[in-house]
Symmetry: C2
Subunit: 286 residues, 2 copies
């Protein structure tokens, strides 16, 4: 067919007709979101000159993504992750000023009410892996140490698995909650985290395969740090030299979050990392 | 949070990183589609400044759409319909030059191997509704009648239902295939089609309700007309004066497809409609 028969004016008229259909939406934010969604969805299909067969392939793909979701699996979040949309929502909503530790994606493996530990304790709690010591501190953007910050940690073990991925484990492993000391310092023992693949047996895995993209996340330790008067920080610390740093399927790596994990004479690995939190807007008056 | 901390350059860098992840995709068309999808998906989230809660509402909505799909229901096509994406793919792929009958959406109620009828016969085959006579002709853009065109028709009945929506009906009703005469003319009897709502009991119905949009399609007769040397025409004929013409939830109405259905002295309704087909590009050499 001669595509020149399609005029931009005709296609624009369709966009406007669809947008007008949403003009009586009582919730102004829903109306705004739908109006913009229609603009960009049509913009995509128009720029791609999507064929009817491609449109139908897209319908089938999204259907399979929805039907892969279950109580223990969220394939649409995975799709959002591999398209960089999850990381984009972090950047849009949780960006920090220069000098603060950068946030990254939350991920699906956080658990409420993780066990509490004292500084110096082993949060591994039987997790399989090479021994590791983590030492850090929490301070404010001004440089002042933040006393008593709550430091929550979770990670995969030597097999690349989180405790919640192991059926019948019955206890938390390689996750815990600590409190920083009065000088902002904290330390704990655990196992060295290892890389792991995101679930690749569903439609998102097929997309990664068709695109020759790696499903492997570089090894990382998750941190969520809460302190009074400061924005909560949700981030990872990665391992320098990890072979998957350049191909994180969820785009969570930032250079400033890559640290040295140093092998010690006693065979353990040492990570030292200092976190800088952003004062809450109530504090700065902005 | 102070949104000014987010820079366009930082967000552009994320788009480019995601696009680069697709750069080794062997299928060039898949690579092109994913590259454009990432651009427009991020463009949407950025312009809407999507919050994390809104992102999650979107994830939940899409999951519900996927889980509403079944062997007999395609909620993602319905979503595509109410966002005008289905009509856009028609316009992108099947636009006709001026003078030809315009195409519109195919819809989900077409059935292969509908029964054959001779001109003048009643295709209603027991369908409930007011009696109707349809007379038409098929000609080429040049004005020349097209002999022997295959004219396929399907429609909802007086209750707004297609035969395939009636469990245990066991026979085709108000659908059939005819062949135009040597002079391009055809005629048949049926029932007057009536408006009907698209399925409104799922997530797409909730979206329509939240947007105060009508789920009712204006009454229409579906036509698919095939003739040698011509592009197949897939379209509807609507009824002038239908109260839902301005609010078709799938955006399928075009002024040139709205016709007079005239009440006759004998109590039947008469529709006369002439179809103009576009010669295939092989014929015109374009």
């Amino acid at each position: 067919m001669d595509k020149s028969k399609v005029t931009d004016a005709g296609l624009d008229a369709l966009i406007h007709a669809v947008q007008r259909a949403f003009e009586n939406t009582p919730d102004p934010r829903l109306k705004e979101i739908m109006t913009l969604l229609v603009k960009h969805l049509h913009g995509f299909a128009r720029e791609a000159r999507l064929t009817q067969e491609e449109w139908f392939q897209g319908i089938r793909f999204l259907t399979e993504v929805g039907q892969t979701c279950s109580d223990v699996r969220q394939e649409f979040i995975l799709l959002s992750d591999v398209l960089g949309l999850s990381m984009l929502t972090v950047e849009l909503n949780d960006a920090k000023p220069a000098g603060c530790t950068a946030p990254t994606v939350f991920g699906p493996f956080h658990v409420e009410h993780a066990p509490r530990y004292d500084n110096g304790e082993d949060i591994g709690n039987g997790a399989i892996g090479k021994p590791c010591v983590i030492r850090g501190s929490v301070r404010s953007l001004s440089g002042r140490p933040i006393p008593d910050a709550i430091v929550e940690v979770w990670q995969a073990d030597d097999e690349g698995l989180y405790d919640v991925q192991k059926p019948n484990l019955g206890q938390a492993q390689a996750r815990g909650v600590l409190q920083a000391r009065a000088d902002g310092s904290f330390d704990f023992r655990s196992v060295v985290p290892e890389p792991y693949p995101i679930p690749a047996d569903g439609p998102v895995g097929k997309l990664l395969h068709a695109s020759r993209r790696s499903a492997w996340r570089p090894a990382h330790l998750h941190f969520m740090i809460k302190a009074e008067g400061h924005e909560t920080l949700i981030t990872h610390v990665f391992r320098r030299g990890d072979r998957f740093l350049q191909s994180d399927p969820v785009f969570g790596v930032r250079d400033c979050l890559v640290a040295d994990w140093e092998l010690q004479p006693d065979g353990s690995t040492l990570l030292v990392f200092d976190f800088v939190l952003n004062p809450s807007s109530e504090e700065t008056g902005s």
